[in-house]
């Protein structure tokens, strides 16, 4: 059936099977391989994307459920060849090691900052509670979000 939606600012029309999940079409039909599949069961968060401003596991959403919605994937963070501030602070803080969790982690953090420009450490922890990272121990990730908040604040003010 026909799926019409917006992915990273581009309107898309695709023919999809009802049992296809959002992650399947992002990766296989749209070639957006930045979104990773880890567990396929909502536990690891590697597949996190943003749907209408909130973080969602794309492995638990049927593609058709995304009809008429706005999706942002990791590929949509970069603007005009420049990395998003969060991507830069992740690199600065060494919050990327093997990198498998990183796209999902970034999307969870981005969703947080879209709703809350000055989150507390507790709020950051809560926002990434559905994202598993085996490498960093989370501290560097939290630091990266803090840095983005602080520099973002300076840029705006």
């Amino acid at each position: 059936m026909l799926l019409e939606f917006d992915v990273n600012g581009i309107k898309r029309k695709l023919d999809v099977d009802p049992e296809m999940r959002l992650i399947d079409i992002l990766r296989d039909k749209l070639g957006l391989k930045g979104t990773k599949e880890g567990c396929g069961e909502g536990e690891c968060g590697a597949c996190t994307v943003i749907i209408d401003s909130v973080a969602v596991n794309s492995c638990l959403v049927l593609a058709i459920q995304a009809r008429d919605k706005q999706i942002i994937t990791i590929e949509g963070l970069e603007k005009d060849g420049e990395l998003d501030l969060l991507q830069k602070t992740f690199i600065n803080q060494g919050a990327v090691q093997c990198g498998y969790c990183t796209p999902g982690m970034l999307m969870s953090c981005k969703a947080l900052l879209m709703q809350n420009t000055n989150p507390t450490e507790k709020e950051i922890r809560l926002a990434i509670s559905g994202n598993l990272c085996r490498c960093t121990g989370y501290t560097k990730i939290i630091r990266a979000v803090r840095e983005a908040v602080e520099t973002g604040g300076m840029q705006n003010g």
Binding site: P18, E19, G40, E41, L60, L62, I64, S129
Partner: protein
């Protein structure tokens, strides 16, 4: 043909129309956090999926004279983010923020938790304590209101027919004296994503002027196949003044009740300590300003 048909009703009339041909291969889809996993595990590949998520007007939290009404598409995140729910139906907000992760809370909804009827379903003790009902619509367009208590028959079992869908959850409006809390202790590798081993929802009518608990309602989840009222604890708290001294006694009563339900099941021994801990957490949470 080995395929799913996917229906996307936008109005209740269209939902009723979609329900008309419902049979054992019809699946109602809410947030999908249980369904998509089951679909893949059971390798379901044919039948009809009726997607509730596009139905207009079902994503609202409303209030009338006597009831709070939650549309079937209200997510856990919406519950937690709603200032009224947070302030006046604390047990519901506290439950919502403890379900899964942010990503799950952004998609998952109450009807899915009820119909999934897992022993560990976090919303169930809360909805029982709130004396909540579900508004159900069928393929003839008829609606009825049934207590959540009477909907769940056992693990994975409900009274819902294939041609019925939950469109609303409603419960009596809290009074100015209503105070509540929810706690769960679970297993899981992390603090987050814990599946409840034991959960406890407690709602009280507390008259601050007389300093008296006029009524208490306690529901224990995840111990028996279906959550149950801790009747003795409810009687015990009635007409008492809240104090820290009450808590160990409350814990004893809850422990006894859980032990009776477990009937010496050794593998569940830890639930006994857990329920004691929850008695402290939940009671202190409710009465922190007066004890």
């Amino acid at each position: 043909m080995d395929k799913f048909t996917y229906k996307t009703p936008v109005t209740l009339e269209e939902l009723v129309e979609s329900l008309k041909s419902a049979n054992e291969n019809t699946y109602i889809l809410g947030g999908g956090t249980d369904f998509v996993i089951q679909m893949r595990k059971k390798r379901l590949s044919q039948g009809v999926i009726i997607d509730m998520t596009g139905i207009r007007g079902l994503n609202e939290i409303n209030m009338d004279e006597d009831h709070i009404r939650l549309g079937a598409n209200v997510t856990y995140s919406q519950l937690y983010n709603n200032p009224f729910i947070r302030a006046h139906v604390a047990c519901l907000a506290q439950m919502a923020i403890k379900v899964g992760s942010k990503q799950i809370q952004n998609m998952a909804r109450l009807p899915g938790n009820i119909v999934n009827a897992s022993k560990a379903g976090d919303s169930i003790p809360v909805l029982l304590a709130l004396d909540a009902s579900a508004k159900i619509i069928n393929s003839k367009g008829e609606t009825k209101q049934i207590k959540v208590q009477d909907i769940i028959l056992g693990m994975g079992k409900t009274i819902l027919n294939r041609d019925e869908a939950i469109i609303e959850i409603l419960f009596p409006k809290p009074t100015i004296n209503t105070r509540s809390s929810f706690g769960k202790i679970g297993h899981g590798a992390r603090n987050e994503l814990t599946i409840a081993n034991v959960s406890l929802a407690m709602i009280t009518e507390y008259n601050q002027i007389n300093n008296i608990i006029e009524k208490a309602c306690l529901v224990v989840g995840a111990v028996a196949p279906v959550a149950f009222h801790a009747a003795q604890a409810e009687v015990f708290l009635q007409s008492k003044r809240p104090s820290r001294l009450l808590i160990p006694q409350l814990a004893d009563i809850l422990q006894k009740q859980v032990e009776t339900v477990l009937k010496g099941n050794v593998s569940s021994k830890h639930k006994i300590n857990d329920i004691r801990g929850l008695a402290f957490d939940v009671f202190e949470n409710i009465f922190t300003d007066v004890i």
